[in-house]
């Protein structure tokens, strides 16, 4: 790169979090951008997500453009930064649509900009189902059969060809069209005649239904020289008809024969080759085991939840490798280093572990909502369990703080009548695992359940083992052998204690007495064939332990689990930004989380990582092994403080205020937020934000705001005096927010003082161009310098700009109406206005 001008790359960001995507794209972007920057690229990112970290990391992004993701803005950024390359694969499907709009203006050709990862022709095919189907037809790839038909006889011929059920829809409906799933000739006759009546052209579309088939997801990577690998074949436990993101997903696939895997792999490769993809491609298949055939149902040549799960479960650094591919390298040329052997990038990852991805639903946080599992996605978060058996991985995955085996959901199902349970098995609802397990407990046969649920009998056989384990435990209270066995299969102390009608700490005591302890295995992409290291570990109860305390000044950073409502991914943003600051200060952050999308599990954020449930016993075991000098503990887990301090002997525990159940402040008067840092002596103002009035409700809530306020100097002084006065009453240093109401006649009154909510830490960090998590960490470590803070604020201040923040909620996607409150925030968008 020395003798030619550095190339510039523009990455289209993911934008605000939605139901479809959480933090996984930010995590991938951080890796891709860091890698491309290391390869000599000048990196530019456009994004409007205040909770995204990548744009704030100087070793990843040179120029971060915070603005709404519109074709016009992208065009402006192109004109300003003159990129040589655009990466559309880190912004979900929306980035593909944006790219096409931008491309249609001719600006790409004018500036001869290359698209990384996919040719422009492929972008058009991804955006247009008709074009894609033409391509797939040319490749003779099996897809779902859809025909336009104008009489019953043809419809019946088709139905007998593809088998019932079929879906009948009217073509060009007059007003309201027909869409009906039909199961026999009689239903078909009615549907066809009604559909034809309702159609302007007198036609219906008859479509093969794939509902009930097995869903298989394959992740492929390809380089410019044509080398292709399969990175993982995952299997969704629930059948088609339930959104894949709402199903539990297992990696590797458990119920497929090698021959079946190879057939789908061949098809995945043929499509990836035809679309000339460089980088990642995620393909979804519907697999019909009875007839041993499959259909391609979706092609996603961009980063998504499965790419992310595959990276975490296999240890293959997919995002980093894609960074090298976009920079022009071939798979065989990539040197991963960091403990990996030569050529790992061009070696298909193999697993000596099983990973189960568990969807986490928001309904416990909502007042309403239809919990039936359908083709629309409803889950907001994901947790990942990794174990040495399917059972162990499943148990760990469900133990996320927002679900758990012993929560309300499990209890409710336990109390159901058989009829209710039957209904639930046939018409599945969220957290389906509990009803499946309950059915096994009540003696349903595996075969019966497989027929009722269209879930492979394999999974019921495994669940039955779990039920037997539990039964054996209950019959043998206090048995050390049963305890060993239960821990070996992944049961928590709480689970065992419930069986024994004892307490988890008594179970833990028995484990200590009998040397039953966790051992750690490294997530290595060669399944032990080579001596190489990903520095990512998970626990099991086996002989060999592979994790020893890392060298250096260890800081254990504990995550907050699956994404859920209340802070979107702002929690993650704050903790990850602290990790990066820790590294800068010479510490070695060691992270724990069960959320595969979490930034904390990125190799760019932490040198050593544990994918483990956030259970007390798991965390204590890691702390005991690592003996960190400092633990950053989220306030949601503050109850662990005493027990943690016992095992780390001498280390410090710092509680990080990450409260996700932020008080919902509703005010009919204008509401101001005075933000400041208090170091125990002085109050450093970080500016005042003003809440925006909600148009339809004519009130103010802390979910839409502007920074800075437009107060007159006098009012500003009044607010500052009020805020500062309130903060001086505190005894603990930290980041704080004082809520102040403005009454008529310019009377201001303090309504609340609280630790600054994480969503505001994230927003203000971007608004102020000042990493507040890092500042707060330095304060906690006693390394805070007021002078440094003032200096950096002086440098970054831009008085002519105002920053706007607007929180987003899942209500529309879930078809519910609820007031937008702080505790239900899913994501947010921000922008600067001159």
């Amino acid at each position: 790169m020395s003798d030619e001008a550095a190339k510039t790359v523009l990455v289209i960001g993911a934008g605000s979090n939605t139901l479809q995507r959480g933090g996984e794209l930010d995590t991938a972007a951080l890796s891709v951008l860091t890698t491309m920057k290391q390869c000599g690229f000048h990196t530019v990112l456009i994004d409007d997500n205040p909770f995204a970290l990548a744009g704030d990391v100087k070793t990843a992004v040179d120029d971060s453009c915070i603005m709404p993701l519109s074709p016009e803005n992208i065009e402006d950024v192109i004109k300003r930064y003159q990129p040589d390359m655009i990466v559309p694969t880190l912004g979900g499907r929306r980035a593909f649509r944006l790219l096409q709009s931008v491309s249609e203006t001719g600006v790409m050709t004018e500036h001869s900009i290359q698209v990384a990862g996919v040719p422009e022709a492929t972008v058009r095919q991804i955006n247009n189902a008709v074009l894609m189907n033409q391509t797939l037809a040319k490749l003779k790839v099996p897809t779902k059969i859809i025909r336009t038909i104008n009489n019953f006889q043809d419809a019946r011929d088709m139905a007998s060809e593809v088998g019932y059920p079929v879906i009948v829809r009217s073509v060009y409906p007059r007003t309201v069209g027909l869409r009906k799933i039909v199961h026999d000739d009689n239903e078909l006759r009615d549907a066809v005649s009604r559909g034809i009546q309702l159609s302007q052209s007198g036609q219906v579309l008859v479509q093969q239904s794939l509902a009930g088939l097995k869903e298989i997801e394959i992740t492929v990577i390809r380089d410019a020289s044509g080398t292709m690998m399969s990175l993982g074949v995952a299997e969704d436990i629930d059948p088609i008809g339930i959104h894949a993101g709402d199903s539990m997903t297992v990696l590797p696939a458990q119920t497929l024969l090698d021959r079946q895997i190879q057939d789908m792999r061949n098809t995945a490769f043929a499509i990836t080759r035809k679309l000339r993809i460089v980088g990642v491609n995620h393909l979804q298949f519907a697999f019909d085991g009875r007839h041993n055939r499959f259909y391609v149902i979706k092609i996603s040549p961009y980063f998504d939840r499965i790419a992310n799960m595959t990276e975490q479960a296999t240890g293959y650094p997919l995002a980093r490798v894609c960074g090298y591919l976009y920079a022009g390298q071939r798979l065989r040329d990539i040197h991963l280093d960091h403990g990996m052997i030569k050529h790992t990038a061009v070696t298909e990852p193999v697993m000596d572990r099983t990973a189960v991805r568990v969807p986490i639903f928001p309904f416990s946080q909502l007042d309403s909502g239809d919990q039936r599992l359908i083709t629309e996605k409803k889950s907001v978060g994901t947790s990942l369990g990794i174990g040495r058996s399917f059972i162990e991985a499943l148990i760990k995955g469900v133990e996320d703080p927002h679900l758990g085996w012993h929560g309300k959901q499990a209890e409710a199902i336990h109390a159901m009548s058989d009829d209710q349970l039957d209904q639930l098995l046939i018409h599945p609802q969220t957290n389906r695992i509990f009803s499946l397990l309950e059915a096994i407990r009540r003696g349903y046969s595996c075969q019966e359940l497989a027929e009722l649920t269209k879930i492979d009998a394999y999974y019921f056989n495994q669940l039955r083992r779990l039920v037997h384990l539990q039964k054996d435990l209950c019959e043998n209270p206090g048995s050390v052998n049963q305890l060993k066995r239960a821990k070996y299969w992944g049961l928590s102390d709480k689970w065992i204690a419930d069986c024994w009608q004892s307490q988890p700490n008594e179970v833990a005591q028995l484990e200590t007495e009998n040397q039953i302890a966790r051992t750690y295995k490294e997530v290595d992409p060669s399944a032990g064939q080579y001596d190489q290291h990903s520095h990512c570990f998970y626990a099991t109860f086996e002989q060999e332990n592979e994790s020893s305390p890392a060298d250096g000044k260890r800081v254990l950073v504990i995550g907050t689990g699956a994404r859920h409502l209340g802070n979107g991914t702002a929690n993650d943003y704050c903790l990850a930004a602290m990790c990066i600051e820790l590294k800068r200060l010479g510490y070695l952050p060691i992270t724990v989380d069960d959320n595969p999308s979490s930034l904390l599990l990125s190799e760019q954020v932490a040198g050593k990582r544990y994918i483990e449930p956030l259970l007390a016993e798991s965390l204590l075991s890691i702390a005991k092994l690592e003996k960190p000098e400092l633990v950053l503990l989220p306030s949601t887990l503050a109850s662990l403080q005493d027990r943690l301090s016992q095992v780390i002997a001498g280390g410090t525990i710092q509680i990080i205020p990450l409260n996700d159940q932020v008080e919902d402040v509703v005010s009919s008067e204008p509401l101001l937020e005075f933000n400041a840092l208090y170091d125990g002596e002085y109050v450093y103002q970080l500016g005042t934000t003003a809440e925006l009035q909600a148009n339809h409700q004519l009130n103010y809530r802390t979910v839409a705001k502007r920074y800075p306020t437009t107060l007159s100097p006098d009012d500003g002084a009044t607010v500052t005096a009020l805020g500062e006065g309130k903060l001086r009453e505190l005894d603990k240093p930290g980041l704080y927010q004082v809520l102040i109401k403005e009454y008529p006649d310019n009377r201001f009154k303090v309504s609340l003082c609280r630790p600054m909510p994480v969503v505001d830490i994230a927003f203000l960090s971007k608004a102020l161009h000042l990493g507040l998590p890092a500042v707060s960490l330095r304060l906690d470590l006693g390394k805070f310098s007021g002078k440094l803070l003032m200096d950096s604020m002086r440098q970054t201040g831009n008085a002519s700009q105002a920053a706007f923040y607007r929180a987003l909620f899942p209500f529309k996607s879930l078809h519910i109406e609820e007031p937008p409150t702080a505790a239900k925030v899913m994501g947010a968008e921000m922008q600067f206005v001159e």
Partner: protein, 363 residues
Amino acid sequence: MSARYLILEDGSVFAGEGFGSPAVTFGELVFNTSMAGYQEIITNPIYHNQIVVFTQPNVGNYPIVRNIYESIDPTIKGVIVRDLAAFSPLNARDISLSQYMERANIPGVTNIDTRALVHKLRAAGKPMRGSIVPVADDHAFDQLHATVLTNQQVAQVATPKPYPNPDVGQTVVVVDFGLKNGILRELSRRRLNVTVLPYTASADQILRLDPDGVVLSSGPGDPHSLKGSVLEMIRKVQSQVPLMAIGLGHELFALANGAQVDRMPIENHSMNHPIKEIMTDQIDYASQAQGYEVKRDSVDRSKLFVTHVDLLNNSVQGLHHLRYPAFSVQFFPDGAPGPDETDPLFDQFVDMMNQRGGDLNER
């Protein structure tokens, strides 16, 4: 299930639970990193005298499938896994992996820390023998140390008598060194008229059948343990008809043409290694199961050239004869289990026979 032990010649003991047959067996330990296809692996005759450790933790997830056997009488000495799946038959005909192994007299041990075991095998840096036993006492270790594993492995797995697999295409002779069904399946798909001959067949016996081409099959064990007459057969056959050799056949083809073949310190059983085809610079993936490798610097350039290499361990994965239409690959282009990407090598073999056929007609 009852307690069973895997003991190793270095004195280590792995305790687990037994499944399959209760037999006591001895064998060399190898680990296989394939994530699917356990039935095909267990029935592959190359695993004669070997105990296979699966790194994929869940095995036995589905019933035995009738059309994916790689041999009828498997000769593997044992199966070591982390988690034998719980199983209940959906149909009366379904049999579990454990039931199958019981019938086939193969013992298995589950609940083993297979990752620790793989680390041990890797660290040993040389083949290690072990035994599956009900009691891990001194007597068991004495027996393990006293046991001599036969080197007549090919003789034990190869067919003693010729048999045909008729079809309408060109005539091919397969020389059986421990043939796996995948090879026959690929030949059948190309409608080739196959006769399988025992590995003891002489060149004359082979050529008397007037084949359009000859395939040297894969098989178990050390290529040096076979008699020199096999190498003579290869030298003669390769000069007369197109030849394709796989696995052990590849090692013998190399030996017959003056190359050196050595024991690998750690066997490679996988399907994820990048294999580069030198001519096209293309990288493919294929099923591999090898304990011996052709020494690259021993390849006589006046006779052979190297066509494929494994990028991870630099081993020679393919050879082609300089003068004759004869080639060999170390990996398994028939997959079963494994990727299909190198399957066109069988087409290449058919093309060779077609070209040769043209010559014969002109003659």
